[in-house]
């Protein structure tokens, strides 16, 4: 008798085993290729006939909803928070109140219902943030904000996780606190500025007394129009480069240091210490402080 002969039980078992292996490999490929969220609601060509669907099913294509939110008058400070959505703030000297335009998007209808825009005012501070219903399935929708602000603003705070932040055309001197994890930041005409991003780049233009800009891998570039007497400007990055154009009237104690990046400064500096990639000195009378540090990124301070 042939010991290796396969019986019907063996053939059935091996066939099922091969099918299961193919299903597992297929699921790995689909997960790895990011096909978990299929905006068309279809999978491998499987589509439910339209007649079966209905709104209650929550089945369908991506959804988008734009809305002009009612904003109470009198806000001089603004705080915006999103997760993946972009934040865009623009100044309009002709505007009399803050105008907030929100855009909600989701890959399907049910997810859209689980993400909301929460707007409230606490004193003179207007807060608008993205809110999700609790639960794993409820985090696929996103909110982005487009804000038009009038004159008279004092502070703009904008925070996102992966969305970009842009502040443009706001009247000079407004304090700005901006942070993201992976999105980029761009701002012009800021007063005091505190900006941070982990992997996004930061482009700025500011004139204030306190400037602090930090990234981990993103680059930092921009213009330092002026730095008030007694003020401080700090630029820090791990692997991103730092490139700052400062006004020719810059008057500051300077400290530039990098572990392996190149350090350069266009200003005439009274050098107090220069060793490797470290440069310390004074520009003018040294009435403010400017320090910039990186691990591997280059540092360049130039004259406008």
């Amino acid at each position: 008798m042939d010991r290796n002969r396969l019986g019907p039980l063996d053939i059935l078992g091996i066939t099922l085993g091969v099918i299961v292996i193919l299903v597992v490999l297929g699921s790995i490929v689909m997960i790895a290729r990011g096909r978990l969220i299929d905006p068309q609601g279809a999978f491998l060509g499987f589509r439910v006939p339209r007649d079966w669907q209905g709104d209650a099913m929550g089945f369908g294509s991506p959804v988008r909803e734009e809305k002009d939110e009612t904003v109470p008058a009198g806000a001089t400070e603004i705080e915006l928070r999103t997760v993946a959505g972009a934040i865009d703030v623009r100044g309009d000297p002709t505007a009399s109140t803050v105008r907030l335009h929100s855009v909600r998007t989701a890959p399907f209808r049910r997810a859209m219902d689980e993400v909301q825009v929460d707007i409230r005012q606490e004193g003179g501070r207007l807060i608008a943030e993205e809110k999700h219903a609790p639960g794993f399935m409820n985090r696929t929708g996103t909110v982005s904000f487009q804000l038009v602000v009038p004159r008279g603003m004092k502070e703009i705070d904008a925070h996102s996780v992966s969305g970009s932040i842009t502040v443009q055309g706001v009247e000079p001197g407004v304090t700005q606190n901006l942070s993201t994890i992976s999105g980029g930041i761009a701002t012009d005409r800021a007063g005091d500025l505190d900006a941070s991003s982990t992997s996004g780049s930061i482009h700025f233009r500011c004139a204030g007394a306190t400037v602090s800009i930090r990234t981990v891998s993103g680059s930092i570039s921009g213009d330092l129009d002026s730095l008030a007497t007694g003020g401080s400007a700090h630029f820090g990055s791990v692997s991103g480069s730092i490139s700052v154009d400062a006004s020719s009237g810059l008057d500051a104690e300077l400290s530039l240091h990098s572990l392996s990046g190149r350090v350069s400064c266009d200003f005439p500096v009274t050098i107090t210490e220069q060793k490797g990639n470290r440069l310390s000195g004074r520009i003018g009378k040294g009435s403010a402080t400017v320090d910039a540090g990186t691990v591997s990124g280059s540092i360049s301070i130039s004259r406008m």
Binding site: L9, D10, L12, G13, I14, L16, G17, I19, V20, I21, V23, V24, G26, S27, I28, M30, I31, R35, L36, I37, D38, P39, G41, A42, F43, F46, V48, W52, M57, G58, F59, G60, P107, F108, R110, A111, M137, T140
Partner: protein
């Protein structure tokens, strides 16, 4: 007689393992297919059933390997036979 009983016991054990795997695999395929249909009928965008297919599938594949490829004692028996032949030397 004792050797015959031992072989019968082993054969029964292997057959039970194979039948258990077949039941397991059929349950897996039926449930996963059901989940995929329910997923796309109700909440079509997010293909969450893939996670179940992947996680449970690892278990079913392990079951398949133990039932058909690495049968209990078969590998040890083969190694023991090999060692025995080495001890006896060439005839």
């Amino acid at each position: 007689m004792s050797d015959m009983n031992e072989k019968m016991r082993l054969a029964r054990k292997i057959a039970e393992r194979k039948v258990a795997f077949i039941r397991h695999a059929i349950s897996y395929l039926v449930v996963i297919a059901g989940l995929a249909v329910v997923n796309n009928l109700t909440y079509g965008g997010y293909q969450w059933w893939l996670w179940v297919a992947f996680g449970w599938g690892i278990g079913v594949v392990s079951h398949f390997l133990s039932a058909f490829l690495y049968q209990s004692g078969a590998l040890v028996d083969r190694l023991a036979q090999h060692e025995l032949e080495k001890m006896n030397g060439p005839k």
